[in-house]
């Protein structure tokens, strides 16, 4: 009844020997040796890919129309989105500064720059809300309206999440409860911010310039 | 004890389960259709009679309402009333009901026709079909539950999908069509 393999082939019980002493190894809080970095990168890949999918759908739908935007749908505004992009790009300054301070374990520096980042995040969010008006089309007007809203909304969620993440980290720092890991979180947040800002550039070009070229 | 409560609540939920998703594949014979209870005026001789509101059988049934939508287009209702805005016929999406908004009134309007140009459909459609159209017509002005109203159709977008419309409260007044006046 016993299903065990031929006993002569089973290795004898093994004695444990210490081959590596890990007591000297410390936790890493920055870069690829921190697992949270991998988590952040994972979410960046997923969110980036959803944006790519929206853009793919955008160009797929483009072929169904003679003109783009479709006839009588006005071109999107350029001023508000450009300001919005500029404010997004500007956000890179405080968050990068915060990350630099974090890598130097400078809690006060992090606090200072995080506060600026947080305030600036609200500006970003406000600009994004204004940007929906700048699309000059409703989501239920036609497929063009649907896809531009979906794409912009997708990215707006990234802004919202980033704002929330920054707010959470800032809360920890301002209550002076920060740990090593929270300094790493600032660094990851900065990386995520770079992603969300850089990801917006192709979206911006697609939403606001592509219709002007075709 | 917990299990009893859970079972009981599951049963209650089942009993309350909406009929939004039912599909009715069997229609009653024509004779089984109730005689519509049509009242078009609030003025009555004698003591005030309480007129019971009738209920459309498919008002809260999404599938049958959608069948009504299909028939509404197939039977060319849309040719006169369009997507509720009206044209040859009066609008159906607003709060004015020439012949009453009560389901029985709408049923009678469809089945018997109206003198201003509405053809009688009672000879062309079964009572069940007419009731589905009744529910669709009521959904156009948001008189049926939101969840049972149709979403957007696969056509040119003319207006908000019925499920996204704000319900119009029917006006109690009766507006005779212009052609009745001279």
């Amino acid at each position: 009844m016993t299903p065990v393999m031929d006993t002569e082939l089973v290795p004898p019980p093994q004695r444990l020997v210490s081959a590596f002493d890990a007591s000297g190894i410390e936790e890493k809080y920055f870069g690829t040796d921190s697992v949270s970095w991998w988590g952040t990168v994972g979410f960046m890949v997923i969110e980036g890919f959803t944006l790519i999918l929206c853009m793919g759908a955008y160009f797929y739908l483009r072929k169904n129309e003679l003109g783009w935007p479709p006839e009588r749908t006005p071109l999107p505004d350029l001023v508000v989105p450009t300001i919005s992009l500029a404010t997004l790009l500007l956000k890179l300054v405080p968050i990068s500064m915060a990350a630099r301070k974090a890598r130097r374990w400078d809690g006060d520096g992090v606090r200072r720059w995080l506060a600026i980042t947080l305030a600036w995040n609200l500006v970003n969010l406000g600009m994004r809300i204004a940007e929906f008006g700048a699309l000059r089309v409703r989501w239920d007007t036609n497929a063009y309206g649907s896809i531009v809203w979906a794409t912009l909304f997708d990215h707006a969620y990234l802004i919202l999440f980033d704002l929330f993440e920054t707010a959470g980290i800032a809360l920890v720092f301002f209550r002076h409860q920060e740990t090593h890991r929270d300094f790493g979180a600032v660094d990851d947040d900065a990386m995520y911010t770079w992603f969300l800002v850089l990801a917006f550039i192709p979206v911006y070009v697609m939403l606001y310039w592509f219709p002007r070229w075709t | 004890m917990t299990r009893t409560v859970l079972c009981a609540s599951a049963l209650v939920l089942l009993a309350l389960a909406c009929e939004r998703e039912d599909r009715d594949f069997h229609s009653d014979p024509a004779a089984a259709t109730p005689k519509p209870n049509i009242v078009m005026s609030s003025l009555q001789p004698g003591p005030v009679a309480v007129i019971p509101k009738t209920e459309a059988p498919y008002d809260d049934n999404a599938w049958m309402t959608a069948e009504g939508m299909r028939l509404y287009h197939q039977m060319n209702c849309s040719g006169c009333h369009f997507e509720g805005g009206g044209g040859i016929g009066p609008p159906l999406m607003d709060d004015e009901w020439i012949y009453g908004s009560d389901p029985a009134n709408i049923y009678a309007t469809i089945a018997e026709g109206r003198p201003g140009g509405m053809p009688p459909w009672g000879t062309r459609m079964t009572p069940q079909q007419i009731w589905t159209v009744v529910s669709y017509v009521r959904s156009l002005s948001g008189l049926t539950p939101r969840g049972a109203r149709p979403g957007r159709s696969d056509h040119m977008s003319g207006n908000l999908a019925p499920q996204n419309r704000t319900p119009e409260k029917p006006k109690p007044t009766f507006t005779p069509p212009a052609s009745w006046r001279p």
Binding site: - | S78, C80, G84, G85, G86, G87, P91, G117, A178
Partner: protein, 569 residues
Amino acid sequence: MPAFATGDDGQWVRPARDYASTRYSAMAEITPQNVSQLKVAFTFATGVLRGHEEAPIVANNTMYIVTPFPNILYALDLTQPGAPLKWTFKPQPDAAAQGVACCDVVNRGVAYADGRIVMNTLDAQTIAVDATSGKQLWRTRVGDINTGESVTMAPLIVKDKVLVGNSGGEFGVRGWLTALDLATGRIVWRAYATGPDSLVKIGPRFKPFYDVNKGKDLGVTSFPPEKWKTGGGTMWGWISYDPDLNIVYAGTGNPGPWDPDSRPGRNLWTSGIFARDADSGDALWFYQWNPHDMHDYDGINEQLLLDLPIGGRTRKVLVRPERNGYLYVLDRTTGEVLSADPFGFINSSKGVDLRTGELILNPDKAPVLGKVVRDICPAAPGAKDWQPSSYSPRTGLLYLPHQNLCMDFESVEANYIMGTPYVGANVKMFAGPGGNRGFFTAWDIVGRKVAWQVKEDFPVWSGALATAGDVVFYGTLDGWFKAVDAHTGALLWKFRTGSGIISQPITYRGPDGKQYVAVVDGVGGWAGAIVAGSLDARDSLAALGMANAMRDLPQKVAKGGTVYVFALP
């Protein structure tokens, strides 16, 4: 102008005034200098609140006005102060006829001849009434509302016959032109617009100018099998008559349904024009404005019969501002297209090949089943609909009231149920380039160009009236009755009526010898249906898409129906 179009007896006995359809009066009392002093002489409320497209008719010092459904005929005594009601005739048409009138329950007027008033009712009856007593002389049912037929056009009396055509191109009816005996009302002949040659009255005398229209039973073979029976081609517009040639000219309406994919072929003899022998009705020639019409470009507009110097010699021509946006000049003896020039913005076609007479279509704007084709210009009502133009020989200009609308068009499968709409299209209309929805244009026929143009916010849905005083009248949907200078288009005078104007203004000489100008207000018709039918503009497909283009009209005007007569003090 041909001889039969001139002369002025101060009367206005048919909506187009003369057989050439010039709507030109030789009366010259009202001039650009004094028009601003025009005052209301009297008014008369018709009591009907639908679209009044009719022209008042004046004969023997009596004004005859027919209302929209229920088609009441009023006679006003012009010899008395205030023009009191002389008699009223109520034909009592079937109320159900309202259900088969595609675009409001209008009536375009009555005709007077031999002491008789001949009128059509919406439920497809032609009635002759004694002009003096208002007693009915005869009544003939010419069509059946149960097949979707109705009659909205004004009859034309030619010699001893009354010519009547039917409406219902949106109901899958077969169009026809019928001649009734003026004395008895008996139907003398009927010529259909689709079907075998015998029904179309095509015989050995039929000599179309272009080869594509030659062949046997093209009215059957240019449709898919059996489709000609619901093929449309209704004749609800204007008929002109050339007494010299003894020819009547009448257009044919759009083929049905609108969805073009369901009826491949040229769909003869729809959306074209027939020249017929006035006595026998035999077809003499035919020209198709819109072969295989895809955009509801009915070919029923007015045709003005003029003698014009073309190419160095005076030719008998037929001038037709057509719904597809081209102003055609045809040789009215042969049917040859002499010129076709766009008078509005057009992108549904690229021009007319004068060698073959063929309209050159733009494939980008051809409807595709199940897909929205955007920005088709002109829209379904065309660059100019039924609203008749006027020609002044003094200026050589054609005064065109017309619209500037474009549309999104989705063709869908149509379902034929007799007596119900048979359209197969979802349409959404909107203002064309420039943003204004209407124009009043003066067109130089010989010079083939626009002389001047007035922009109007709303489509100009009323007829035009030109006078020898060089004043041109027209009305607007938002209720202004306007007089403009015939040479320059400068606004000389305007008067706000009670409702919007979609009717045909006329002028006549009163018993006191003065020149009067009359117009009826009462907004409605296709363009004003949003007001007349109390439509809901939240549905931008309502009224075949017209409600979308006119969604601000209900804020400007209300329903009405009043005759206004003006005179100089």
